[in-house]
Amino acid sequence: MPEKVIDRQAAGTGKEAAPQGAAPARRRLRDKFGRGALPYLLLLPALLAELLIHLVPMVTGIVMAFKQLTQFFIRDWSSAPWSGFDNFEVALEFNAPVGKALLHSFWVTCMFTVLSVGLSWLIGVTASIFTQDAFRGRGLLRAAFMLPYALPVFAAVITWSFMFQRDTGLINHVLHDQLHLTDDKPFWLIGDNSFWALLTVSVWKSWPFAFLTLTAGLQNIPRELYEAAALDGAGVWQQIRRITLPSLRPVNLVLVLVLFLWTFNDFNTPFVLFGKSAPQAADLISIHIYQSSFITWNFGQGSAMSVLLLLFLLLVTAVYLFATNRRREEAE
Protein backbone atom coordinates (compact mmCIF):
# COMPACT_ATOMS: atom_id res chain seq x y z
CA MET A 1 0.00 0.00 0.00
CA PRO A 2 1.23 3.46 -0.73
CA GLU A 3 2.29 5.36 2.34
CA LYS A 4 2.76 8.97 3.10
CA VAL A 5 6.31 9.94 3.73
CA ILE A 6 6.89 9.73 7.43
CA ASP A 7 10.55 8.87 7.46
CA ARG A 8 11.52 11.69 5.14
CA GLN A 9 12.11 14.37 7.69
CA ALA A 10 9.32 16.82 8.29
CA ALA A 11 7.28 15.88 5.28
CA GLY A 12 4.01 15.88 7.23
CA THR A 13 1.30 17.86 5.56
CA GLY A 14 -1.16 18.32 8.33
CA LYS A 15 -2.97 15.23 9.43
CA GLU A 16 -1.06 14.57 12.61
CA ALA A 17 -0.85 18.19 13.62
CA ALA A 18 -4.28 19.40 12.55
CA PRO A 19 -6.17 21.10 15.34
CA GLN A 20 -8.61 18.76 17.04
CA GLY A 21 -11.87 20.58 16.46
CA ALA A 22 -11.38 21.66 12.84
CA ALA A 23 -14.01 20.30 10.50
CA PRO A 24 -13.88 16.63 11.48
CA ALA A 25 -15.86 15.42 8.45
CA ARG A 26 -13.49 17.05 6.02
CA ARG A 27 -10.54 15.72 7.92
CA ARG A 28 -11.84 12.20 7.77
CA LEU A 29 -12.34 12.53 4.03
CA ARG A 30 -8.86 13.91 3.68
CA ASP A 31 -7.42 11.09 5.75
CA LYS A 32 -9.14 8.52 3.65
CA PHE A 33 -7.93 9.89 0.32
CA GLY A 34 -4.90 11.81 1.48
CA ARG A 35 -3.08 8.88 2.95
CA GLY A 36 -3.15 6.52 0.01
CA ALA A 37 -4.61 8.06 -3.06
CA LEU A 38 -3.41 11.64 -3.03
CA PRO A 39 -0.04 11.12 -4.75
CA TYR A 40 -1.81 9.08 -7.43
CA LEU A 41 -4.44 11.77 -7.88
CA LEU A 42 -1.67 14.31 -8.33
CA LEU A 43 0.01 12.09 -10.90
CA LEU A 44 -3.20 11.22 -12.73
CA PRO A 45 -3.21 14.05 -15.31
CA ALA A 46 0.44 13.45 -16.16
CA LEU A 47 -0.19 9.73 -16.37
CA LEU A 48 -3.18 10.14 -18.69
CA ALA A 49 -1.27 12.47 -21.02
CA GLU A 50 1.72 10.14 -21.11
CA LEU A 51 -0.52 7.16 -21.76
CA LEU A 52 -2.43 8.78 -24.62
CA ILE A 53 0.46 10.49 -26.39
CA HIS A 54 3.51 8.38 -25.57
CA LEU A 55 2.81 4.91 -24.27
CA VAL A 56 -0.30 3.78 -26.15
CA PRO A 57 1.09 5.03 -29.49
CA MET A 58 4.35 3.28 -28.78
CA VAL A 59 2.65 -0.05 -28.10
CA THR A 60 0.41 0.57 -31.11
CA GLY A 61 3.49 1.27 -33.19
CA ILE A 62 5.05 -2.00 -32.16
CA VAL A 63 1.81 -3.85 -32.99
CA MET A 64 1.58 -2.06 -36.34
CA ALA A 65 5.05 -3.24 -37.25
CA PHE A 66 3.64 -6.77 -37.39
CA LYS A 67 0.76 -5.84 -39.69
CA GLN A 68 0.36 -5.37 -43.38
CA LEU A 69 -0.84 -1.85 -42.81
CA THR A 70 -1.12 -0.20 -46.22
CA GLN A 71 -3.34 2.68 -47.31
CA PHE A 72 -6.39 0.42 -47.65
CA PHE A 73 -6.53 -0.09 -43.90
CA ILE A 74 -5.92 3.44 -42.61
CA ARG A 75 -9.56 3.98 -41.67
CA ASP A 76 -9.70 0.85 -39.58
CA TRP A 77 -6.18 -0.24 -38.94
CA SER A 78 -7.12 -3.13 -36.66
CA SER A 79 -8.58 -4.96 -39.67
CA ALA A 80 -5.20 -5.04 -41.41
CA PRO A 81 -3.94 -8.62 -41.73
CA TRP A 82 -1.08 -9.82 -39.56
CA SER A 83 2.15 -10.26 -41.42
CA GLY A 84 4.50 -11.70 -38.81
CA PHE A 85 8.06 -10.54 -39.27
CA ASP A 86 7.58 -9.66 -42.96
CA ASN A 87 8.05 -5.92 -42.44
CA PHE A 88 11.24 -6.50 -40.51
CA GLU A 89 12.55 -8.90 -43.11
CA VAL A 90 11.96 -6.36 -45.86
CA ALA A 91 13.66 -3.64 -43.83
CA LEU A 92 16.66 -5.84 -43.09
CA GLU A 93 17.03 -7.35 -46.58
CA PHE A 94 20.07 -5.25 -47.38
CA ASN A 95 20.40 -6.52 -50.96
CA ALA A 96 16.92 -5.34 -51.92
CA PRO A 97 16.19 -1.63 -52.55
CA VAL A 98 14.23 -0.95 -49.32
CA GLY A 99 16.78 -2.49 -47.00
CA LYS A 100 19.70 -1.06 -48.91
CA ALA A 101 18.29 2.46 -48.64
CA LEU A 102 17.62 1.98 -44.93
CA LEU A 103 21.17 0.75 -44.28
CA HIS A 104 22.59 3.69 -46.24
CA SER A 105 20.45 6.10 -44.24
CA PHE A 106 21.60 4.42 -41.01
CA TRP A 107 25.29 4.90 -41.86
CA VAL A 108 24.73 8.50 -42.89
CA THR A 109 22.96 9.12 -39.58
CA CYS A 110 25.78 7.47 -37.59
CA MET A 111 28.46 9.56 -39.31
CA PHE A 112 26.38 12.68 -38.94
CA THR A 113 25.71 12.06 -35.25
CA VAL A 114 29.30 11.29 -34.32
CA LEU A 115 30.59 14.41 -36.09
CA SER A 116 27.84 16.70 -34.88
CA VAL A 117 27.98 15.60 -31.23
CA GLY A 118 31.79 15.63 -31.21
CA LEU A 119 32.05 19.11 -32.71
CA SER A 120 29.21 20.53 -30.59
CA TRP A 121 30.85 19.24 -27.44
CA LEU A 122 34.28 20.50 -28.46
CA ILE A 123 33.04 23.99 -29.29
CA GLY A 124 30.84 24.04 -26.19
CA VAL A 125 33.65 23.07 -23.84
CA THR A 126 36.10 25.51 -25.47
CA ALA A 127 33.67 28.41 -25.28
CA SER A 128 32.66 27.67 -21.71
CA ILE A 129 36.29 27.50 -20.54
CA PHE A 130 37.16 30.68 -22.43
CA THR A 131 34.26 32.57 -20.87
CA GLN A 132 34.96 31.30 -17.35
CA ASP A 133 37.00 34.35 -16.31
CA ALA A 134 35.05 37.58 -16.10
CA PHE A 135 35.77 40.21 -18.76
CA ARG A 136 33.95 43.20 -20.12
CA GLY A 137 31.07 42.18 -22.38
CA ARG A 138 31.01 38.58 -21.17
CA GLY A 139 27.29 38.68 -20.36
CA LEU A 140 26.51 39.97 -23.84
CA LEU A 141 28.71 37.34 -25.47
CA ARG A 142 27.05 34.56 -23.48
CA ALA A 143 23.62 35.80 -24.53
CA ALA A 144 24.79 35.87 -28.16
CA PHE A 145 26.10 32.32 -27.87
CA MET A 146 22.73 31.12 -26.62
CA LEU A 147 20.79 32.70 -29.49
CA PRO A 148 20.81 29.59 -31.71
CA TYR A 149 19.24 27.65 -28.84
CA ALA A 150 16.56 30.27 -28.34
CA LEU A 151 15.64 30.79 -32.00
CA PRO A 152 12.81 28.57 -33.24
CA VAL A 153 14.32 25.75 -35.30
CA PHE A 154 12.27 26.46 -38.40
CA ALA A 155 13.18 30.16 -38.52
CA ALA A 156 16.89 29.51 -38.00
CA VAL A 157 17.16 26.63 -40.46
CA ILE A 158 15.23 28.45 -43.17
CA THR A 159 17.79 31.26 -42.84
CA TRP A 160 20.59 28.74 -43.33
CA SER A 161 18.86 27.38 -46.41
CA PHE A 162 18.89 30.93 -47.81
CA MET A 163 22.60 31.22 -47.01
CA PHE A 164 23.27 27.93 -48.80
CA GLN A 165 21.43 28.91 -52.02
CA ARG A 166 23.74 28.38 -54.99
CA ASP A 167 23.27 31.69 -56.81
CA THR A 168 21.91 34.06 -54.19
CA GLY A 169 23.39 32.69 -50.99
CA LEU A 170 26.04 34.13 -48.70
CA ILE A 171 28.18 30.99 -48.49
CA ASN A 172 28.97 30.79 -52.21
CA HIS A 173 29.45 34.54 -52.37
CA VAL A 174 32.14 34.34 -49.70
CA LEU A 175 33.76 31.10 -50.90
CA HIS A 176 33.66 31.78 -54.64
CA ASP A 177 33.30 35.52 -55.30
CA GLN A 178 35.38 36.83 -52.43
CA LEU A 179 37.88 34.13 -51.51
CA HIS A 180 38.03 32.38 -54.94
CA LEU A 181 38.33 29.01 -53.20
CA THR A 182 36.15 27.12 -55.68
CA ASP A 183 36.27 26.91 -59.49
CA ASP A 184 32.53 27.04 -59.78
CA LYS A 185 29.70 27.80 -57.40
CA PRO A 186 28.88 24.47 -55.75
CA PHE A 187 25.40 23.28 -54.87
CA TRP A 188 24.96 22.89 -51.12
CA LEU A 189 21.43 21.62 -50.75
CA ILE A 190 21.58 18.82 -53.31
CA GLY A 191 24.32 16.26 -53.97
CA ASP A 192 27.19 15.24 -51.73
CA ASN A 193 27.79 18.70 -50.26
CA SER A 194 24.41 18.55 -48.55
CA PHE A 195 25.93 16.39 -45.81
CA TRP A 196 28.33 19.18 -44.83
CA ALA A 197 25.60 21.80 -45.05
CA LEU A 198 23.43 19.74 -42.72
CA LEU A 199 26.35 19.16 -40.35
CA THR A 200 27.12 22.89 -40.19
CA VAL A 201 23.54 23.79 -39.33
CA SER A 202 23.30 20.98 -36.79
CA VAL A 203 26.48 22.03 -34.97
CA TRP A 204 25.40 25.69 -35.04
CA LYS A 205 22.12 24.68 -33.44
CA SER A 206 23.43 22.13 -30.89
CA TRP A 207 26.60 23.61 -29.44
CA PRO A 208 24.86 26.36 -27.43
CA PHE A 209 23.13 23.69 -25.35
CA ALA A 210 26.51 22.11 -24.58
CA PHE A 211 27.81 25.57 -23.75
CA LEU A 212 24.87 26.26 -21.42
CA THR A 213 25.22 22.96 -19.57
CA LEU A 214 29.01 23.09 -19.31
CA THR A 215 28.96 26.71 -18.12
CA ALA A 216 26.63 25.63 -15.33
CA GLY A 217 28.99 22.73 -14.58
CA LEU A 218 32.07 24.97 -14.42
CA GLN A 219 30.49 27.07 -11.70
CA ASN A 220 30.72 24.13 -9.32
CA ILE A 221 34.53 24.01 -9.47
CA PRO A 222 35.97 25.87 -6.49
CA ARG A 223 38.48 28.57 -7.38
CA GLU A 224 40.84 27.33 -4.64
CA LEU A 225 41.63 24.29 -6.78
CA TYR A 226 43.03 26.50 -9.53
CA GLU A 227 44.89 28.65 -7.02
CA ALA A 228 46.49 25.60 -5.42
CA ALA A 229 47.50 24.27 -8.85
CA ALA A 230 48.95 27.62 -9.88
CA LEU A 231 50.98 27.72 -6.66
CA ASP A 232 52.35 24.30 -7.54
CA GLY A 233 53.48 25.75 -10.84
CA ALA A 234 50.79 24.36 -13.13
CA GLY A 235 50.30 26.39 -16.30
CA VAL A 236 46.95 27.23 -17.84
CA TRP A 237 46.82 24.12 -20.04
CA GLN A 238 47.66 21.89 -17.10
CA GLN A 239 44.95 23.57 -15.03
CA ILE A 240 42.49 22.80 -17.79
CA ARG A 241 43.69 19.22 -18.22
CA ARG A 242 44.02 18.30 -14.55
CA ILE A 243 41.21 20.29 -12.95
CA THR A 244 38.62 21.56 -15.41
CA LEU A 245 38.13 18.53 -17.64
CA PRO A 246 38.01 15.90 -14.85
CA SER A 247 35.54 18.05 -12.88
CA LEU A 248 33.25 18.23 -15.89
CA ARG A 249 33.05 14.45 -16.23
CA PRO A 250 29.63 13.98 -14.56
CA VAL A 251 28.13 16.77 -16.68
CA ASN A 252 29.71 15.31 -19.81
CA LEU A 253 28.21 11.89 -19.20
CA VAL A 254 24.65 13.20 -19.32
CA LEU A 255 25.35 15.85 -21.95
CA VAL A 256 26.85 13.52 -24.53
CA LEU A 257 23.98 11.03 -24.13
CA VAL A 258 21.35 13.74 -24.52
CA LEU A 259 23.10 15.26 -27.55
CA PHE A 260 23.45 11.81 -29.10
CA LEU A 261 19.74 11.01 -28.75
CA TRP A 262 18.63 14.43 -30.01
CA THR A 263 20.96 14.40 -32.99
CA PHE A 264 20.26 10.82 -33.97
CA ASN A 265 16.51 11.46 -33.92
CA ASP A 266 16.73 14.90 -35.50
CA PHE A 267 13.97 15.47 -37.99
CA ASN A 268 13.39 19.20 -37.94
CA THR A 269 16.75 20.31 -39.32
CA PRO A 270 16.82 18.20 -42.50
CA PHE A 271 13.09 18.65 -43.02
CA VAL A 272 13.30 22.44 -43.05
CA LEU A 273 16.66 22.55 -44.82
CA PHE A 274 15.81 20.21 -47.70
CA GLY A 275 12.04 20.06 -47.76
CA LYS A 276 10.25 16.76 -48.05
CA SER A 277 12.92 14.93 -50.04
CA ALA A 278 16.34 14.91 -48.41
CA PRO A 279 19.29 14.26 -50.75
CA GLN A 280 20.94 10.84 -50.54
CA ALA A 281 24.03 12.17 -48.80
CA ALA A 282 21.98 13.74 -46.00
CA ASP A 283 19.19 11.18 -45.72
CA LEU A 284 18.85 11.02 -41.92
CA ILE A 285 16.96 8.06 -40.54
CA SER A 286 13.96 9.97 -39.15
CA ILE A 287 13.27 11.68 -42.43
CA HIS A 288 13.91 8.45 -44.31
CA ILE A 289 11.24 6.66 -42.28
CA TYR A 290 8.87 9.61 -42.63
CA GLN A 291 9.25 9.56 -46.38
CA SER A 292 8.91 5.86 -46.81
CA SER A 293 5.75 5.95 -44.64
CA PHE A 294 3.92 8.96 -45.99
CA ILE A 295 4.88 8.62 -49.63
CA THR A 296 4.01 4.95 -49.94
CA TRP A 297 1.41 5.05 -47.13
CA ASN A 298 2.84 1.77 -45.92
CA PHE A 299 2.59 2.42 -42.19
CA GLY A 300 3.43 -1.16 -41.22
CA GLN A 301 6.76 -0.88 -42.98
CA GLY A 302 7.47 2.51 -41.43
CA SER A 303 6.61 1.18 -37.97
CA ALA A 304 8.95 -1.77 -38.36
CA MET A 305 11.76 0.63 -39.24
CA SER A 306 10.88 2.83 -36.23
CA VAL A 307 10.96 -0.19 -33.93
CA LEU A 308 14.39 -1.15 -35.26
CA LEU A 309 15.55 2.41 -34.65
CA LEU A 310 14.20 2.27 -31.09
CA LEU A 311 15.95 -1.05 -30.44
CA PHE A 312 19.22 0.41 -31.67
CA LEU A 313 18.88 3.49 -29.44
CA LEU A 314 17.96 1.32 -26.43
CA LEU A 315 21.01 -0.84 -27.04
CA VAL A 316 23.39 2.10 -27.40
CA THR A 317 21.97 3.83 -24.31
CA ALA A 318 22.18 0.65 -22.24
CA VAL A 319 25.77 -0.03 -23.29
CA TYR A 320 26.69 3.61 -22.66
CA LEU A 321 25.16 3.67 -19.19
CA PHE A 322 26.70 0.31 -18.33
CA ALA A 323 30.17 1.31 -19.54
CA THR A 324 30.16 4.71 -17.86
CA ASN A 325 28.85 3.25 -14.59
CA ARG A 326 31.57 0.64 -14.56
CA ARG A 327 34.25 3.19 -15.25
CA ARG A 328 32.92 5.32 -12.43
CA GLU A 329 32.91 2.39 -10.05
CA GLU A 330 36.46 1.49 -11.01
CA ALA A 331 37.53 5.07 -10.45
CA GLU A 332 36.10 5.10 -6.96
Partner: protein
Protein backbone atom coordinates in the same frame (compact mmCIF):
# COMPACT_ATOMS: atom_id res chain seq x y z
CA UNK B 1 42.23 30.27 -14.84
CA UNK B 2 45.05 31.70 -12.78
CA UNK B 3 47.74 33.81 -14.48
CA UNK B 4 46.95 33.01 -18.10
CA UNK B 5 49.92 33.90 -20.35
CA UNK B 6 49.50 36.39 -23.21
CA UNK B 7 49.37 33.60 -25.81
CA UNK B 8 46.40 32.07 -24.02
CA UNK B 9 44.62 35.40 -23.82
CA UNK B 10 45.13 36.00 -27.54
CA UNK B 11 43.94 32.54 -28.46
CA UNK B 12 40.90 33.13 -26.29
CA UNK B 13 40.10 36.40 -28.04
CA UNK B 14 40.44 34.90 -31.51
CA UNK B 15 38.39 31.79 -30.75
CA UNK B 16 35.58 33.74 -29.09
CA UNK B 17 35.51 36.17 -31.99
CA UNK B 18 35.27 33.37 -34.57
CA UNK B 19 32.50 31.73 -32.57
CA UNK B 20 30.60 34.99 -32.27
CA UNK B 21 30.78 35.45 -36.05
CA UNK B 22 29.63 31.84 -36.64
CA UNK B 23 26.75 32.26 -34.20
CA UNK B 24 25.56 35.67 -35.29
CA UNK B 25 25.94 35.43 -39.08
CA UNK B 26 22.46 33.92 -39.63
CA UNK B 27 20.95 36.59 -37.39
CA UNK B 28 22.71 39.29 -39.42
CA UNK B 29 21.50 37.65 -42.65
CA UNK B 30 17.95 37.64 -41.31
CA UNK B 31 18.07 41.27 -40.27
CA UNK B 32 19.79 42.63 -43.36
CA UNK B 33 17.74 40.64 -45.87
CA UNK B 34 14.46 41.51 -44.21
CA UNK B 35 15.14 45.17 -45.06
CA UNK B 36 15.99 44.53 -48.72
CA UNK B 37 13.84 45.11 -51.79
CA UNK B 38 13.02 41.94 -53.72
CA UNK B 39 15.63 42.41 -56.49
CA UNK B 40 18.41 42.42 -53.88
CA UNK B 41 17.66 38.86 -52.82
CA UNK B 42 17.16 37.59 -56.37
CA UNK B 43 20.69 38.47 -57.52
CA UNK B 44 24.06 37.58 -56.01
CA UNK B 45 24.35 38.00 -52.27
CA UNK B 46 24.97 41.49 -50.94
CA UNK B 47 25.65 42.33 -47.32
CA UNK B 48 23.70 45.57 -47.21
CA UNK B 49 20.37 46.48 -48.81
CA UNK B 50 20.66 48.68 -51.93
CA UNK B 51 18.10 50.81 -50.20
CA UNK B 52 16.35 50.22 -46.91
CA UNK B 53 12.71 49.21 -47.13
CA UNK B 54 10.12 48.01 -44.67
CA UNK B 55 7.96 46.57 -47.45
CA UNK B 56 8.77 42.94 -46.53
CA UNK B 57 7.36 43.51 -43.06
CA UNK B 58 4.10 44.72 -44.63
CA UNK B 59 3.92 42.06 -47.32
CA UNK B 60 4.53 39.03 -45.10
CA UNK B 61 0.99 39.28 -43.75
CA UNK B 62 -0.51 39.16 -47.26
CA UNK B 63 1.62 36.58 -49.08
CA UNK B 64 0.57 33.89 -46.62
CA UNK B 65 -2.05 34.19 -43.87
CA UNK B 66 0.69 34.78 -41.33
CA UNK B 67 -1.62 36.38 -38.77
CA UNK B 68 -3.71 33.22 -38.70
CA UNK B 69 -0.65 31.01 -38.26
CA UNK B 70 0.60 33.37 -35.57
CA UNK B 71 -2.71 33.15 -33.70
CA UNK B 72 -2.70 29.37 -34.02
CA UNK B 73 0.85 29.13 -32.71
CA UNK B 74 0.05 31.44 -29.81
CA UNK B 75 -3.06 29.46 -28.86
CA UNK B 76 -1.35 26.10 -29.21
CA UNK B 77 1.94 27.01 -27.52
CA UNK B 78 0.23 29.09 -24.83
CA UNK B 79 -2.30 26.43 -23.88
CA UNK B 80 0.27 23.64 -24.03
CA UNK B 81 2.57 25.64 -21.76
CA UNK B 82 -0.13 26.47 -19.20
CA UNK B 83 -1.40 22.91 -19.02
CA UNK B 84 2.04 21.38 -19.03
CA UNK B 85 3.21 23.56 -16.14
CA UNK B 86 0.09 22.77 -14.11
CA UNK B 87 0.30 19.02 -14.71
CA UNK B 88 4.06 18.92 -14.15
CA UNK B 89 3.66 20.88 -10.92
CA UNK B 90 1.15 18.39 -9.53
CA UNK B 91 3.28 15.43 -10.57
CA UNK B 92 6.52 17.03 -9.42
CA UNK B 93 4.93 17.75 -6.03
CA UNK B 94 3.88 14.13 -5.69
CA UNK B 95 7.32 12.85 -6.68
CA UNK B 96 9.14 15.28 -4.42
CA UNK B 97 6.95 15.08 -1.29
CA UNK B 98 5.38 11.62 -1.18
CA UNK B 99 6.58 8.09 -1.11
CA UNK B 100 4.29 5.74 -2.96
CA UNK B 101 4.37 2.44 -4.71
CA UNK B 102 5.40 2.70 -8.35
CA UNK B 103 7.24 5.99 -7.93
CA UNK B 104 10.44 4.69 -9.40
CA UNK B 105 8.66 3.01 -12.30
CA UNK B 106 6.79 6.24 -12.97
CA UNK B 107 9.88 8.46 -13.07
CA UNK B 108 11.93 6.03 -15.14
CA UNK B 109 9.12 5.44 -17.64
CA UNK B 110 8.39 9.12 -18.03
CA UNK B 111 12.03 10.05 -18.47
CA UNK B 112 12.76 7.26 -20.91
CA UNK B 113 10.05 8.50 -23.26
CA UNK B 114 12.48 11.36 -23.94
CA UNK B 115 14.69 8.89 -25.70
CA UNK B 116 12.19 7.54 -28.17
CA UNK B 117 12.24 8.79 -31.74
CA UNK B 118 9.34 11.12 -32.57
CA UNK B 119 8.80 9.23 -35.78
CA UNK B 120 7.82 6.15 -33.76
CA UNK B 121 4.90 8.01 -32.14
CA UNK B 122 3.92 9.98 -35.19
CA UNK B 123 2.41 7.21 -37.29
CA UNK B 124 0.40 5.52 -34.50
CA UNK B 125 -0.68 8.82 -32.99
CA UNK B 126 -1.89 9.95 -36.40
CA UNK B 127 -3.93 6.74 -36.72
CA UNK B 128 -5.21 6.92 -33.13
CA UNK B 129 -6.37 10.51 -33.61
CA UNK B 130 -8.07 9.62 -36.90
CA UNK B 131 -9.75 6.60 -35.32
CA UNK B 132 -10.90 8.50 -32.23
CA UNK B 133 -12.41 11.05 -34.59
CA UNK B 134 -14.20 8.37 -36.62
CA UNK B 135 -15.61 6.51 -33.65
CA UNK B 136 -16.45 9.30 -31.18
CA UNK B 137 -16.66 12.43 -33.30
CA UNK B 138 -14.01 14.19 -31.19
CA UNK B 139 -11.82 15.78 -33.82
CA UNK B 140 -8.24 15.54 -32.58
CA UNK B 141 -6.59 15.11 -35.97
CA UNK B 142 -6.26 18.50 -37.62
CA UNK B 143 -7.48 20.34 -34.55
CA UNK B 144 -5.62 22.66 -32.22
CA UNK B 145 -6.73 20.49 -29.30
CA UNK B 146 -4.86 17.48 -30.64
CA UNK B 147 -1.72 19.53 -31.10
CA UNK B 148 -2.01 21.08 -27.63
CA UNK B 149 -2.36 17.64 -26.10
CA UNK B 150 0.66 16.39 -28.04
CA UNK B 151 2.93 19.31 -27.21
CA UNK B 152 2.06 19.45 -23.53
CA UNK B 153 3.05 15.80 -23.29
CA UNK B 154 6.34 16.43 -25.11
CA UNK B 155 7.51 18.89 -22.49
CA UNK B 156 6.07 16.94 -19.53
CA UNK B 157 8.89 14.48 -18.81
CA UNK B 158 11.62 17.07 -18.62
CA UNK B 159 9.33 19.51 -16.78
CA UNK B 160 8.40 16.97 -14.11
CA UNK B 161 12.04 16.06 -13.65
CA UNK B 162 13.12 19.69 -13.42
CA UNK B 163 10.30 20.68 -11.04
CA UNK B 164 10.75 17.65 -8.78
CA UNK B 165 14.41 18.61 -8.52
CA UNK B 166 13.52 22.19 -7.77
CA UNK B 167 10.90 21.27 -5.16
CA UNK B 168 13.44 19.02 -3.45
CA UNK B 169 15.59 22.09 -2.90
CA UNK B 170 12.75 23.84 -1.05
CA UNK B 171 13.09 23.11 2.69
CA UNK B 172 10.42 20.84 4.10
CA UNK B 173 10.19 23.09 7.15
CA UNK B 174 7.91 25.25 5.05
CA UNK B 175 5.48 22.35 4.54
CA UNK B 176 5.66 21.57 8.21
CA UNK B 177 4.91 25.13 9.23
CA UNK B 178 1.93 25.15 6.89
CA UNK B 179 0.77 21.85 8.39
CA UNK B 180 0.92 23.30 11.88
CA UNK B 181 -1.28 26.12 10.64
CA UNK B 182 -3.77 23.51 9.46
CA UNK B 183 -3.12 23.63 5.71
CA UNK B 184 -4.01 20.54 3.71
CA UNK B 185 -1.67 19.26 0.99
CA UNK B 186 -3.38 21.18 -1.81
CA UNK B 187 -3.42 24.45 0.08
CA UNK B 188 0.20 23.92 1.02
CA UNK B 189 1.01 23.45 -2.63
CA UNK B 190 -0.86 26.53 -3.79
CA UNK B 191 0.00 28.94 -0.99
CA UNK B 192 3.44 27.82 0.12
CA UNK B 193 5.15 25.75 -2.56
CA UNK B 194 4.13 27.65 -5.69
CA UNK B 195 5.48 31.03 -4.53
CA UNK B 196 8.70 29.41 -3.33
CA UNK B 197 9.12 27.46 -6.56
CA UNK B 198 8.33 30.34 -8.90
CA UNK B 199 11.81 30.45 -10.53
CA UNK B 200 11.55 26.73 -11.29
CA UNK B 201 8.03 27.16 -12.63
CA UNK B 202 9.16 30.00 -14.91
CA UNK B 203 12.03 27.86 -16.18
CA UNK B 204 9.65 25.03 -17.03
CA UNK B 205 7.25 27.44 -18.72
CA UNK B 206 10.01 28.87 -20.93
CA UNK B 207 11.11 25.38 -21.88
CA UNK B 208 7.56 24.21 -22.63
CA UNK B 209 6.79 27.28 -24.72
CA UNK B 210 9.97 26.92 -26.76
CA UNK B 211 9.27 23.24 -27.34
CA UNK B 212 5.76 23.91 -28.60
CA UNK B 213 6.67 27.00 -30.64
CA UNK B 214 9.46 25.32 -32.57
CA UNK B 215 8.12 21.81 -33.24
CA UNK B 216 7.87 20.94 -36.95
CA UNK B 217 7.29 17.21 -37.43
CA UNK B 218 3.91 16.79 -35.72
CA UNK B 219 2.75 20.24 -36.82
CA UNK B 220 3.28 19.27 -40.44
CA UNK B 221 1.20 16.11 -40.15
CA UNK B 222 -1.43 16.99 -37.54
CA UNK B 223 -2.67 20.36 -38.82
CA UNK B 224 -4.84 21.48 -41.72
CA UNK B 225 -5.29 24.83 -43.48
CA UNK B 226 -7.28 26.25 -40.59
CA UNK B 227 -5.05 25.11 -37.74
CA UNK B 228 -1.61 25.41 -39.38
CA UNK B 229 1.06 26.82 -37.08
CA UNK B 230 4.06 29.02 -37.89
CA UNK B 231 6.44 26.07 -38.01
CA UNK B 232 4.69 24.82 -41.15
CA UNK B 233 3.24 28.10 -42.37
CA UNK B 234 6.61 29.76 -42.77
CA UNK B 235 7.43 27.35 -45.55
CA UNK B 236 4.60 28.91 -47.54
CA UNK B 237 6.94 31.60 -48.83
CA UNK B 238 9.46 29.05 -49.96
CA UNK B 239 7.30 26.56 -51.81
CA UNK B 240 5.88 28.98 -54.34
CA UNK B 241 7.64 29.29 -57.70
CA UNK B 242 9.17 32.59 -56.67
CA UNK B 243 10.86 32.55 -53.29
CA UNK B 244 10.44 35.91 -51.58
CA UNK B 245 13.55 35.56 -49.47
CA UNK B 246 13.28 39.06 -48.07
CA UNK B 247 9.81 38.21 -46.80
CA UNK B 248 10.95 34.82 -45.50
CA UNK B 249 13.64 36.57 -43.47
CA UNK B 250 11.26 39.24 -42.21
CA UNK B 251 8.75 36.59 -41.18
CA UNK B 252 11.47 34.51 -39.50
CA UNK B 253 12.51 37.52 -37.49
CA UNK B 254 8.96 38.35 -36.49
CA UNK B 255 8.12 34.82 -35.37
CA UNK B 256 11.41 34.53 -33.46
CA UNK B 257 10.87 37.71 -31.47
CA UNK B 258 8.44 36.36 -28.84
CA UNK B 259 10.61 33.36 -27.94
CA UNK B 260 13.98 35.07 -28.15
CA UNK B 261 12.80 38.02 -26.05
CA UNK B 262 11.25 35.67 -23.50
CA UNK B 263 14.32 33.49 -23.46
CA UNK B 264 16.78 36.33 -22.99
CA UNK B 265 14.65 37.86 -20.24
CA UNK B 266 14.15 34.59 -18.39
CA UNK B 267 17.32 32.65 -19.25
CA UNK B 268 18.79 32.83 -15.76
CA UNK B 269 15.72 31.01 -14.43
CA UNK B 270 16.17 28.36 -17.09
CA UNK B 271 19.84 27.93 -16.21
CA UNK B 272 19.00 27.78 -12.50
CA UNK B 273 16.23 25.26 -13.14
CA UNK B 274 18.50 23.15 -15.33
CA UNK B 275 21.14 23.14 -12.64
CA UNK B 276 18.68 22.24 -9.88
CA UNK B 277 17.32 19.35 -11.96
CA UNK B 278 20.79 18.19 -12.94
CA UNK B 279 22.14 18.28 -9.39
CA UNK B 280 19.51 15.79 -8.41
Amino acid sequence: MINPPASFRWLRRVVLLVLAVFTLTPVAVMLSSSLKPLQDVQGPWRWMPSHLTLRPYVDIWKTVPLAKYFTNSLIVAGSATGLSVLIALLAGYAVSRYRFRGKKVFTITVLSTQMFPGILFLLPLFLIFVNIGNSTGIALYGSRGGLILTYLTFSLPFSIWMLAGYLDSIPRDLDEAAAVDGCGPIRTLVQIIVPAALPGIIAVAVYAFMTAWGEVLFASVMTNDQTRTLAVGLQGYATQTDVYWNQVMAASLVVSLPVVAGFLLLQRYLVAGLTAGAVK
